[in-house]
């Protein structure tokens, strides 16, 4: 017969003073684990939120970032009027030739500067990226030295709010609008008119082309046509795949997360063991009584393991709760791909919270295993005699 679960549960509650520190300890470990993983998830989410399945991204073969890619005007003209490219209501092809460059801007906290991506694009380019929505001010006017800045980026740098001006490349630019990129990679960008960008930064070529395929089959044809055309040393990929490959920045964060999880879980196992040994020690007589009542060794063993797991699960739940307030908080670091500031959010997904709970329960089970074995092996008579 198994011990009733309420027995374990009430045991955890009755000894709350002794168990509280362990629960809190495990909770903090789980909170750190969940938060660091939430950063990696946020980075990956921002990449996966970016592409539209109908769009094809075209960059120079061999380049790893739009800012180091070049597409010449001739190449743009060759591709522009292909039949496979969708057209808008006026019959114009949905092709956006973008210029992406980096500018160094002072941070708003006064701690130095960082590179920011500036994308020069046309109204077609904006139509191809419908997830980007204006939240204040207005869009930049073509032919003017005006920019719109991502709202999240505006908070991190000086001179990026509506009405502000900043100097770059010997010119003054005015911020006329702020936009929200719906947690996509565009949240890390400054947008302005394509031709203005080219003249301001003295760029003859475009950086990339974004085209809307007329249908999925046409998309495949565009990719193979570029692959086979010797005049075009370019690489075409679905936009979704292009951004999906841009998550290398998440790797060091994941390494950090795994290292922390390993080291902290070892510490947490020791703490859980200490608590459970103390719990077994102070309940020696109780365990003897249970044995006399007819509960078997393996029942006692299972009982203590369940108790450890329960203790850890409470800690795990607490850890997830502690981490939760940071969900959706935006943060930023340098992307190793684009060499510029990338803004992303802590994202605590249900799966991540579940992973945190599993992590906690595993710590609890490992920590209670040895004490439970000890409890189950107590000789009945000596256990009953102990004070």
């Amino acid at each position: 017969m198994a011990l009733p679960l309420t027995y374990n549960f009430r045991n955890v509650l009755v000894r709350w003073r002794a168990t509280l520190a362990t629960i809190l300890g495990i909770g903090l470990v789980v909170a750190v684990f969940v938060l660091v993983q939430a950063l990696a998830v946020g980075l990956e989410k921002s990449a996966s939120n970016t592409g539209d399945p109908r769009n094809i991204m075209i960059v120079r073969k061999g380049s790893t970032a739009e800012s180091t890619s070049q597409v010449s005007l001739e190449q743009f003209q060759i591709i522009r009027y292909w039949d496979q490219i969708a057209r808008d209501s006026t019959g114009a092809p949905l092709v956006s030739a973008d210029v992406v460059t980096l500018i160094s801007q002072p941070r708003s906290d006064g701690r130095g500067e960082a590179n920011v991506s500036v994308r020069g694009l046309t109204p077609v380019g904006m139509a191809l990226r419908p997830q980007v929505k204006l939240v204040s001010g207005r869009w930049f006017a073509p032919g003017k030295r005006e920019v719109a800045v991502s709202q999240k980026l505006a908070r991190r740098f000086t001179g990026f709010h509506v009405g502000d001006t900043f100097r770059t490349a010997g010119n003054t630019l005015t911020v006329v609008g702020e936009f929200d990129g719906s947690n996509s990679a565009f949240d890390s960008e400054v947008w302005m008119d394509a031709d203005e960008t080219r003249s301001l930064f003295d760029r003859q070529n475009y950086s990339s082309l974004l085209v809307r395929a007329a249908n999925p089959q046409a998309g495949k044809e565009i990719i193979s046509r570029i692959e086979n055309d010797k005049r075009l040393p370019l690489l075409a990929e679905p936009e979704v795949k292009y951004y999906g490959d841009q998550t290398a920045t998440a790797l060091p964060i994941k390494i950090l997360g795994n290292f922390l999880a390993t080291a902290m879980s070892i510490g947490a196992v020791f703490a859980a063991m200490n608590t459970m040994y103390a719990s077994v020690g102070s309940r020696t007589r109780e365990i003897g009584t249970l044995r006399v009542l007819g509960f078997r060794r393996r029942t006692i063993l299972a009982g203590f393991i369940i108790e450890g797991a329960l203790l850890a699960a409470i800690g795990g739940g607490l850890g997830c709760l502690l981490a939760l307030p940071l969900h959706g908080v935006s943060t930023g670091t340098m992307s190793f791909n684009s060499f510029s500031e990338t803004v992303f959010e802590f994202r605590i997904t249900p799966w991540l919270a579940a992973k945190g709970m599993i992590f906690a329960v595993v710590v609890g089970i490992i920590g209670s295993l040895l004490p439970a074995i000890r409890a189950s092996r107590l000789p009945v008579i000596t256990a009953l005699k102990s004070v």
């Binding site: 003073r17 002794a18 509280l20 520190a21 362990t22 809190l24 300890g25 903090l28 470990v29 750190v32 660091v36 950063l39 073969k61 061999g62 380049s63 790893t64 970032a65 800012s67 180091t68 460059t101 980096l102 500018i103 160094s104 941070r107 701690r111 130095g112 500067e113 960082a114 590179n115 770059t168 490349a169 010997g170 930064f201 003295d202 040393p233 290398a248 790797l251 060091p252 390494i255 950090l256 922390l260 080291a263 902290m264 070892i266 510490g267 020791f270 703490a271 200490n274 608590t275 040994y277 103390a278 020690g281 102070s282 943060t331 930023g332 670091t333 340098m334 060499f339 500031e341 004070v387």
Partner: protein
């Protein structure tokens, strides 16, 4: 029985618990040291010899915008400048590896010794680098990693320029804080991409430390209001610029360290309370025998302090040995090349341990102080 043996016996009477407590303190302090070293490596990069005489000049817009090659003549004429070399990022990928595993820069072969003198190489290497257009010199770490030696050819696919280039290794250098970079000739790059007339950035060597500030000022002023305005700064400031780009990572690591310390205090304090609660009756007997409160406090303090310090010695010592004698490049997948556990960090971790030992003794001591002898003697467990 003397007082010290009494304390030692008490600390070790539950050997399992003592071991577990020491281990958890050791693991936590190991973690704390690791995080502090990582934070230091990220925020205070290693300084190379000769850095105080070097100036980095980049495009004012950002590091990724090129500079016109014609600027060289103007910079060379500035008083106090000893040598000028272009320094152009090639962004080459080696052997279809997923990412870039080492950096490559194009520069002037004859300026290597004057500008980056701390990179030590045999004379033969310098001569070959000067004589052969496709020559390159390679840092020792990279050469060892790929088992490359002088005379080998390597081909790199550039992520910045179209196509790929093949180089012949002229020499292998060592002696810089990060012996991973590959240096090759700017004229070879220019030739292969059709003489575009641009370079990535300039590196300058000034004649003396007194020339630093005037040279920086003069370089910045020389290109004011030109098509390519520049930002000249000392090597130190240039490095700090990179650190600023890392953004919130620093805050993240600092907050994790705080949580680790807090968890540590919590768990250790709870262990101490357990140890004291277990022997309430004994402590009551000691009280009845006439021991005073401060003596009881001293017993508990000595025990908790001893546990914390033993754990600290293991954790800090372990971290020191691992990071001093281990291969840090391999351990961190190439993110860090040096991972120096400084005396300052060890001192900080030891201080945390000492405070921990004291704080953990406070709560149990208070409950012992408050307990009445009669109730204490009645306690069963």
């Amino acid at each position: 029985m003397t007082i010290p043996t009494f304390i030692l016996k008490n600390a070790l009477r539950n050997k399992r618990r003592a071991l577990l407590s020491i281990s958890s303190v050791a693991v936590s302090l190991f973690l704390l040291v690791t995080l502090q070293v990582a934070l230091r490596e990220l925020t205070i990069p290693p300084q190379s010899a000769g850095a105080e005489l070097r100036v980095a000049v980049r495009n004012k817009i950002s590091l990724t915008n090129p500079l016109p090659a014609r600027q060289r003549g103007i910079i060379e004429k500035i008083p106090g400048v000893e040598a000028v070399t272009p320094f152009t990022w090639f962004g080459g990928k080696y052997k279809n590896e997923g990412g870039m595993s080492f950096a490559q820069f194009a520069m002037d072969a004859d300026k290597l010794r004057s500008v980056f003198g701390e990179a030590k190489m045999d004379m033969d290497g310098y001569e070959k680098f000067n004589a052969t257009k496709d020559a390159c010199v390679l840092g020792k770490i990279t050469a060892d990693k790929y088992h490359l030696k002088v005379g080998d050819h390597i081909t790199l696919d550039s992520t910045v320029y179209p196509g790929s280039l093949t180089f012949t290794i002229a020499g292998i250098y060592a002696g810089t804080p990060d012996d991973r970079n590959m240096l090759f000739r700017q004229d070879y790059l220019d030739e292969s991409i059709g003489e575009p007339g641009y370079v990535g950035m300039w590196w300058l060597k000034v004649k003396s430390a007194n020339d630093m500030a005037p040279v920086i000022k003069a370089v910045n002023a020389a290109f004011q209001n030109s098509a390519a305005e520049v930002r000249a700064e000392s090597e130190r400031n240039f490095q700090l610029g990179f650190i600023s780009m890392l953004g919130n990572i620093k805050t993240l690591i600092a907050s994790i360290s705080t949580v680790v310390v807090f968890t540590l205090v919590l768990v250790t304090a709870s262990t101490m309370s357990m140890a004291v609660r277990e022997r309430f009756r004994e402590l009551a007997i000691l009280k009845a025998l006439g021991f005073r409160r401060r003596e009881m406090f001293a017993f508990i303090l000595a025990e908790s302090f001893g546990l914390a310090v033993t754990g600290a010695a293991l954790g800090i010592g372990g971290a020191y040995c691992l990071y001093t004698f281990g291969d840090i490049g391999k351990l961190t997948a190439g993110i860090f090349v040096s991972f120096e556990v400084t005396p300052r960090i060890m001192g900080f971790a030891a201080l945390v341990a000492a405070v921990l030992g004291i704080v953990s003794a406070v709560a149990p001591s208070l409950s012992v102080a408050r307990m009445s002898v009669v109730n204490g003697l009645k306690t069963l467990d």
